[in-house]
């Protein structure tokens, strides 16, 4: 039996920091610690000093509730926090405040379903969500060089107490590619809710559980990007399938993903359930879910799914609408320009395909709203196309690069006069470039590029559609051929 043929099951544990919550989960230190000197984003509470008490902050709880609503979760009536104990240098109290089903506790989500878009096949899929926990992130241990060579371990508690949600799926993710799309959709949805900025380093981590038919479950920990998630899953399915098809045994274990060497490495055998001594944190009274739901509901008005529906309702194809929605400022720009009268289909193409491509090409950040022009610019450009004044490609080649370069540019100043006598220019080129014309007629297709270039040069400063030039050149040359033979 071939290694690839074995069935497999994939379940994910997705940890997402609520980086945009503003504060940590139980104190007023900042939820986004990036760029801060070590141990400067700390206070007695997140350092776990004895007597300092955790007081749940409202925003993280509301954002976590919004996540549960997004996934249509069954929810308990109260938000309960539970202590989970294990000794670890970067965990100040040696217990983590999290949520747990049992011992008087409950997670914020007791079961739900996440719908996500698969742009590769242009379909919606869904995965069952087993639970969602709200919890605090531990600190970070750093070393000089490697863990082996470093004389000391340095602990930075800036991250300690940052609010996290852990989304645990049932093991029914279809495959590695779907796993990646699922996580990308979840992150995007949380981004739209204002819960997280997934572009920040370390803002999410995925642990994946993979089991191949005939073997036990293996957990791959600490996957830091969606691309790595797909790679790690492919690798792990291949590795386990190979062992099993060669008659070996896959035992229950925990492995780590090495993003540099692109392999999973064994971390520890997992032969028994760890003892975490769960019990509800007596310092934190329960918080009624009802009020949180009321506060969280408005955040669900702007999920990617709803935005895509809005965009599709303008006649834009679903896949194109996704291309808009994945870049928040692009979707925003589209909707505002349509409101200003932009022709939706041209606007969607202009923004999601051509302008986005140019912005990336120029090394700018498409997620930064200031990389984009204003909606009136988009509206005006699409109206020029709709009225027949310019073709789409004339705008694309002659206007968009300038706008991508300087989004504040006035369109009027960039719009070149129309070149309205292409035919004359083409005649001139054919007559002056005798050698190239002969080469082309002899079957050297490349000569056509040269001829197009010469024609464009003659029309420098005018609005020209290079495709139109090419087409008429081809037609004229074809007529020449039929004439000579």
């Amino acid at each position: 039996m071939s290694a690839e043929g074995l069935g497999y099951r994939i379940g994910l544990e997705i940890h997402v920091q609520l980086t945009e919550a503003g504060t940590k989960l139980f104190c007023d230190c900042k939820s986004n610690y990036r760029g801060m000197a070590p141990n400067t984003n700390v206070c007695p509470v997140c350092l776990g000093l004895p007597g300092a008490l955790p007081v749940p902050r409202r925003r993280p709880l509301v954002l976590a509730t919004a996540a549960a609503l997004l996934m249509g979760c069954e929810m308990p009536t109260e938000m309960v926090f539970t202590r989970k104990h294990y000794f670890y240098p970067d965990m100040p109290k040696n217990y983590q405040i999290t949520q747990y089903q049992g011992g008087g506790g409950a997670p914020i989500c007791l079961g739900g379903r996440l719908r996500y878009y698969d742009p590769d096949l242009d379909v919606w899929r869904s995965v069952k969500v087993r639970r969602i926990n709200v919890e605090e992130d531990p600190g970070r241990t750093e070393y000089e060089g490697s863990i082996q060579s470093s004389e000391y371990a340095y602990v930075d508690y800036n991250r300690s107490g940052v609010p996290l949600i852990e989304v645990v799926t049932e093991p029914d993710v279809e495959g590695p590619r779907e796993a990646r799309r699922l996580v990308e959709y979840l992150l995007l949805a949380l981004d739209y809710m204002g819960a997280t900025n997934p572009r920040l380093e370390g803002s999410f981590r995925v642990d994946a559980n993979v089991s191949v038919e005939g073997g036990e479950r293996v957990e791959v920990k600490n996957i830091g990007s969606t691309l790595d998630l797909e790679r790690a899953l492919r690798y792990e399915i291949f590795r386990q399938s190979k062992i099993i098809s060669q008659g070996g045994k896959v035992r229950r274990e925990t492995r780590g993903w090495d993003p540099v060497r692109k392999v999973t490495k064994p971390q520890r055998a997992k032969e028994y359930e760890e003892e975490y001594l769960y019990f509800p944190d007596p310092d934190i009274p329960t918080v009624p879910i009802k009020d949180l739901v009321a506060e969280a509901r408005p955040l669900l008005l702007r999920t990617p799914e709803r935005l895509m529906e809005a965009i599709v309702s303008y006649g834009v194809r679903q896949r194109r609408s996704w291309a808009l929605v994945v870049t928040k400022p692009a979707a925003q720009l589209f909707l505002s320009s349509v409101r200003l009268g932009a022709e939706p289909r041209a606007a969607s193409r202009l923004i999601a395909v051509d302008l986005k491509g140019l912005i990336k090409k120029f090394g700018k950040d498409p997620n930064d709203p200031s990389s984009w022009p204003g909606p009136e610019t988009i509206a005006r450009l699409t109206m020029l196309v709709a009225s027949g004044e310019y073709t789409y490609d004339e705008i694309k080649y002659n206007v968009l690069p300038a706008i991508a370069n300087d989004p504040m540019l006035d369109v009027k100043g960039v719009l070149p006069p129309k070149a309205n006598n292409i035919d004359n220019v083409i005649d001139e080129v054919i007559m002056s470039e005798v050698k190239a014309v002969r080469d082309y007629l002899d079957g050297k297709a490349k000569a056509l590029d040269y001829l197009v270039g010469r024609a464009l040069r003659r029309m420098a400063g005018l609005a020209v559609d290079p495709k139109a030039v090419r087409t008429s050149l081809e037609e004229r040359l074809a007529r020449l051929t039929s004439g000579t033979q």
Partner: protein, 480 residues
């Protein structure tokens, strides 16, 4: 001996008839005289910083401010965080730890002009009922040097009893304010759960404990309670209530007082204890109070087991953080696990280790249901019974089943030690307030009584306490 009561001192200081420096220095003299034998303090503030603080408060008075505790000397239990004095909770593992913040109660004391004189001795992490389990030294009872002052707030009670402070703060997880009060003829209150902020209290059992006021008279205790009580945004378990105003409470009218004296809170006490309390209840009756002797607290049989199961589970969790990484005390080993193990083996005393092991057991998979979860359920049953009774009457009973034990008498057998808490744990399990005050002496040994009421009935308890004091004449009493 009757030193001035705190509220008398305040009157004289505010009226200008007494200089607060003279008052403070007089107490410092008393401390110097008694500390060698009593050893109530783990750390005393340096005299220079006390003098500086006195000048600061005197300046406030000159500016016309009238802080409620101006110049009063307060002893603070060593598990209450102070940024200006080490805070060890009576444990080696916190030796040298100076918190970077003040407990809310300490901040409130300072705002009202109190002089914090030092940190008082206690059983390690408040785990004990005699103050003999301090990692440093046992404290002696000023009324009888061969006897314990009770625990775990034994240092605070002893300091008050010999006149080493005007007021004191203790903490009460299962009787730790009230046992010492009863053994030293002082007054102590375990407040309603959530009335006083725990922010800065080094935790032993979070769901049970409260910081509370200790004093030599009920009026003084009320003065301190009014300063430290009320909602604190830094403690999510505090109730949304303003500070109390019990200082102005009047003695209760005996004719409108109803007291329940369930036999379960009295019968098993030593004869002198039982006799003293029965006599006091009789006097209340003759003043016109209704005393009901036939209401029963049937759940008390389970109270100790329920209490210790919950307290030790929470304790095991709270004590996990002391592994040598964030606090000065550390025993370095080549690995993290080694360092944590070595630090904890050397840093914790045997009773603390025993309680951690029991706490871990009651939370472990396979035991959690029959221990921790069962105790949580039992706690609700006990609370329901106490709350139901407290709706009709104040509940009176013994504080300790025995007179103050001799040093060494109780600590060899943990079960005998834990049994001292039998009458006190029910207030913690139920969250209700409990006031302890002296009712009599038996061959020079103090005997206390406790009064419990419904949640937030502190003013009522204090009124009843003032009435009792008027009958006993023991307000302000101190050891010679």
């Amino acid at each position: 001996m009757r030193p001035l009561q705190a509220h008398e001192v305040i009157n004289e200081v505010l009226s200008g008839s007494m200089d607060l420096e003279d008052h403070v220095l007089q107490i410092l003299e008393r401390v110097k005289e008694k500390e060698d034998t009593i050893r109530a303090f783990i750390a005393l503030a340096p005299e220079s910083s006390i003098r500086a603080r006195v000048r600061e408060v005197r300046e406030w008075l000159r500016e016309g401010r009238r802080p409620r505790l101006a110049g009063l000397v307060v002893a603070v239990k060593d598990n209450i965080s102070t940024s200006f004095l080490p805070t060890t909770a009576g444990s080696r593992i916190l030796e040298g730890y100076v918190p970077p913040f003040d407990a809310t109660v300490v901040r409130r004391l300072m705002e009202e002009g109190a002089i914090v004189i030092g940190k008082t001795n206690m059983d390690e992490f408040a785990m004990g009922s005699t103050t003999e389990l301090s990692a440093y030294w046992p404290t002696r009872n000023p009324w009888d040097l061969e006897r314990v002052p009770g625990g775990s707030s034994g240092g605070s009670a002893a300091a008050l009893a010999y006149g080493g402070a005007d007021l004191a703060l203790g903490s009460d997880t299962g009787g730790s304010i009230r046992l010492p009060a009863a053994y030293t003829a002082t007054v102590g209150l375990k407040p309603t759960y959530g009335l006083v902020s725990r922010y800065g209290l080094i935790p032993y059992a979070n769901s049970l404990e409260q910081i509370g006021p200790m004093a030599r008279s009920v009026r003084d205790l009320a003065l301190l309670l009014d300063v430290i009580s009320g909602h604190d945004p830094r403690d999510a378990t505090t109730l949304r209530v303003p500070p109390t105003s019990t200082f102005i409470a009047k003695p209760a009218d005996p004719r409108s007082l109803r007291v329940c004296a369930p036999p379960e809170l009295l019968e098993a006490s030593e004869p002198p204890v039982k006799a003293a309390i029965t006599k006091l209840l009789g006097r209340l009756e003759s003043e016109g109070a209704a005393v009901i002797y036939d209401r029963h607290l049937t759940t008390i049989d389970d109270a100790l087991a329920v209490y210790y199961t919950i307290a030790l589970a929470e304790a095991a969790s709270n004590l996990a953080r002391y592994d040598g990484k964030l606090y000065p005390f550390v025993r370095i080993a080549p690995t993290y696990t080694g360092t944590a193990t070595e630090t904890r083996s050397r840093g914790f005393g045997p009773e603390v280790k025993r309680r951690i092991i029991m706490g871990v057991t009651s939370l472990s998979e396979g035991y959690r249901d029959e221990l921790y979860m069962a105790a949580a359920k039992g706690r609700r049953v006990i609370r329901d019974e106490v709350l139901a009774m407290s709706r009709n009457c104040l509940i009176a009973g013994s504080v300790s089943p025995v007179l103050p034990p001799r040093l060494g008498e109780r600590i060899t057998d943990p079960l005998k030690l834990y049994a001292l808490d039998i009458y006190t744990v029910i207030a913690n399990l139920s969250g209700v307030p409990s006031l302890t005050l002296p009712v009599d002496f038996y061959s020079d040994l103090p005997i206390g009584m406790q009064l419990m009421g419904p949640p937030l009935s502190e003013a009522q308890l204090i009124s009843a306490g003032l009435l009792v004091e008027s009958l006993t004449g023991l307000a302000g009493v101190a050891a010679p």
